[in-house]
């Protein structure tokens, strides 16, 4: 029973590492150059600080996920993992909400401020950003689960284990 739990946790953390890495890479490689009315127009992720923040946070979390894979399961450092999971969950939620806010303006525009949507001109860029955001949502859900699970295993708050 403990063996399957360990293997399952390891597998889930490996999946989380892969998804954070892919979200970061997909967002960073989204770039498109179009010509609108004889003007060359290039859309990159680095135009908006929100998308740059998304890339940076997912890169940091993927490095953390990679290092966590090598932690032996009986070490005392799992208490530190509780605090680190909390911090990284918060970072992931903030990055996904900021990137979603900017992407919403890019897709639908904001008529009250006179901001036109840009997705019609750079469709491939928009689709790639959308894909990265979907993967970002999966990351957030996975990390919330990890956070609750590490609190459950190390701190035993529901007093379910026989001491």
């Amino acid at each position: 029973m403990a063996e399957t739990k360990r293997i399952f946790t390891f597998l889930l953390r490996f999946i989380a590492f892969c998804t954070t890495l892919s979200a970061s890479i997909v967002m960073a490689s989204s770039r498109e150059r179009t010509t609108v009315l004889a003007l060359s127009f290039e859309a990159k992720y680095s135009d908006t600080p929100a998308l740059m923040y998304f890339v940076i946070v997912n890169a940091i979390v993927s490095v953390y996920g990679f290092l966590i894979l090598f932690l032996p399961s009986k070490s005392q450092l799992w208490r530190l993992v509780v605090a680190l999971d909390a911090v990284f969950t918060m970072l992931l939620t903030s990055s996904i909400s900021a990137a979603m806010a900017i992407a919403y303006v890019g897709k639908k525009g904001n008529p009250n401020a006179g901001w036109l949507p840009i997705c019609d001109q750079v469709r491939k860029y928009c689709n790639q950003v959308q894909g990265a955001l979907i993967v970002g949502f999966i990351n957030v859900i996975l990390y919330i689960l990890f956070f609750l699970y590490s609190i459950h295993t190390t701190l035993n708050p529901l007093l379910l284990e026989r001491s």
């Binding site: 135009d47 909400s97 401020a113 901001w115 529901l158």
Partner: protein, 196 residues
């Protein structure tokens, strides 16, 4: 001779403020900050008349207004701060009426779990609003989005004030979550506080 192992462990134990009122004061401050952020953002409105064209000699005037619900990020900000302030209010009342509750089974860690969930919610709301406000203040030349803060200065200033209050609430919520989790780790001192 020397210290025994139990005493050595006790030396390294985290000690959180064991005063009964410290957590209530922190929750009160977080509630005030989050409620201030909500109220300032909800009442944030500015109307300005612009001259858009001139027909002959009469100028055509158009009245434009800036409200918080024009941007979905600010709507999320208002909802998140409202929920956090309600949560803190409920937790303050639960703390004051502590003698009527018994912390058995699932009710004991619910406080800490709810604190952490509200922390994540507040961080999401505050960050989305900050990035949208940065877009409004600086514009984005690549996407041809003009900045709006030079036209609606009072709206921008009040929004900035609401954002600052929300980040102060975020710092307090972080402290409160930390103390709530520490209370889970050492429940014995909590039970001894129960007799106050």
């Amino acid at each position: 001779m020397g210290l025994q192992s139990g005493e050595k462990l006790a030396m390294f134990k985290w000690s959180y403020p064991r005063n009964r009122w410290s957590l209530v004061v922190l929750r009160l401050l977080a509630f005030l900050a989050a409620a201030a952020a909500t109220l300032v953002m909800v009442l944030n409105k500015q109307t300005k008349t612009f001259v858009v064209a001139t027909i002959g000699t009469t100028p055509l005037k158009l009245a434009l207004n800036a409200k918080f619900h024009h941007t979905p990020a600010f709507v999320f900000f208002v909802i998140a701060n409202g929920l956090v302030s309600i949560h803190n209010l409920v937790m303050i009342m639960a703390d004051l009426l502590r003698s009527k509750f018994d912390y058995k089974g699932f009710r004991f860690p619910m406080v800490a779990i709810l604190d952490m969930l509200n922390l994540a919610l507040l961080s999401g709301g505050a960050n989305a609003a900050v990035f949208m406000a940065e877009l409004g203040k600086n514009g984005n030349s690549h996407a041809r989005w003009d900045k709006i803060c030079d036209k609606f200065e009072a709206y921008c200033d009040r929004g900035a004030g609401a954002l600052v209050a929300s980040f102060i609430a975020l710092a307090f919520m972080l402290l409160i979550s930390f103390i709530s989790i520490l209370k889970l780790v050492s429940p014995s001192s909590h039970i001894s506080n129960n007799n106050n």
